[in-house]
Symmetry: C2
DNA sequence: CCAAAAGTGTTGCAATTACACCCATGC
DNA sequence: GCATGGGTGTAATTGCAACACTTTTGG
């Protein structure tokens, strides 16, 4: 499977390329975006086999898990400073890596089936919240496409990645009550209804407009700007800005 | 570092022994007990160096992470069905494994410093809640001792294990509001005051006796038995039993 | 009989929920 | 001017925290 920095993908034989990573380990990223009123998920399609997966990557020998996840995000979305949170490690057996070999065979004729990528891989799951507008889904030479899908209607994913997505959504829901939650899914300046749509999409249920606004302002972490959003068909809503980082700490 | 099944520890050379595990990976277990009114932590002392760590182990090539953690628990406490929960993976650089080499040198004169155990190891953190009475802390031939310490006054741990303990306590606190929480720290039958002490120890603050009892009964998951605890100096309290598993699911 | 711990009920506050009214904008 | 969405306030409810009284047991 093609993961990690693209620039080294094509240099030399595969086994040498794999030597730069911690064997049997990977990070998988559940990348959430928000657009058109619902949550989007970034998925990667691999050529030939009609197989989709989460974007992921291997971990360099001298690279922290977090750095590895950031690298995946930077590579797949072009974004550098992304809200990223580890939520679970997935290490049960039967995380079939068999299709990976087929994938390699589409590029290389003779691949050693004993390489660790075809055996068991333990994966550390991260979820990421990105600004849909700024993200530039990037397809590499290995993959057919890298694109957003509605999180409730994405193509079935290989391995146990569907389960990983469910797990990530749960973790995301649980993290929703800290000040600044959902910030990273929106542009820097946003309106209160927009923030509400984000919360509704994550929780999966409608929220009361007025109570929502009150709670957000009482909780702190948001700052109302003088400006309003122009151009809408109705009363112009205020713009807001977050005053805390996505992790709940002040800037 | 001596981890994993004891029976294979002494068979053959170390590098062969290590071949049965996923390289660069381990599980570390934060084992909580409850005794004499406060939380205890199970720690292991390694010989010669005045070094303590959490009980941990490596992950077999055909073993799930959870199985590996269960194996550590079974080995260190003799308990088979333990409430175990993964809470975080620790993979940042600088998790110095240097002392491990010294440890091996106390047993073997010539150890290859290129073995993966001396390089970087990513560790999956599990916390466990065990019945203090039933647990039998077990020292193996490699370690000086395996013993309970008050969680607020345990010897400083090597690596980043002190940080791991803090992380585990936080996860434990967050998991305290599900029905059946704290069950696994007590014997099968327990009194309400006992359960309250557990919650107080985890939260680190006193709780109101009456509100506590009400909440526990309203929430469900506990069942009052006919019997009472005899022999106390005062009014005999009722005995209770949990009707849900530690994970919040009914039996 | 007294001290100390356990069982049960009631009150009051505070946070959340439900709901009503006014304002702005485009067609 | 009217439909639609946005901003603000208030009443109702509920969940939780504070607190009082009774019961049991050993000494």
């Amino acid at each position: 499977m093609p993961r990690g920095r693209p620039r080294v993908l094509l240099d030399g034989p595969i086994d040498k390329w794999l030597d730069q990573f911690l064997p049997h380990l990977s990070v998988d990223c559940v990348v959430f975006g928000f657009h058109g009123g619902d949550l989007k998920l970034l998925v990667v399609k691999w050529p030939g086999l009609d197989v989709w997966t989460l974007p992921g990557g291997y971990v360099g020998l001298e690279q922290s898990l977090e750095e590895a996840a950031h690298q995946v995000l930077r590579f797949r979305t072009g974004l550098r400073h992304v809200h990223l949170r580890q939520f679970q490690a997935f290490g049960r057996l039967g995380r079939k890596e068999a299709f990976g070999r087929k994938l390699f065979l589409t590029r290389y004729s003779d691949v050693d089936p004993d390489l660790w990528v075809f055996k068991r891989v333990v994966s550390i799951g991260y979820y990421a919240l990105v600004d849909f507008q700024k993200a530039r889904p990037t397809t590499d030479p290995w993959s057919d496409s890298c694109a957003w899908y509605p999180v409730d209607a994405h193509p079935p994913l290989a391995y146990d990645h569907d389960g990983i997505v469910g797990c990530a959504r749960e973790a995301l829901r649980a993290a929703l009550d800290v000040p600044g939650a959902g910030a990273s899914l929106l542009p820097e300046r946003f309106t209160m209804p927009e923030l509400q749509r984000v919360h509704e999409a994550i929780l999966g249920r409608p929220l009361d407009r007025r109570n929502f606004q009150k709670r957000m302002l009482d909780r702190g972490g948001v700052e109302r700007l003088a400006e309003r959003r122009r151009g809408g068909a109705h009363r112009a809503p205020f713009l807001y800005r977050f005053t805390v980082s996505p992790d709940g700490v002040g800037f």
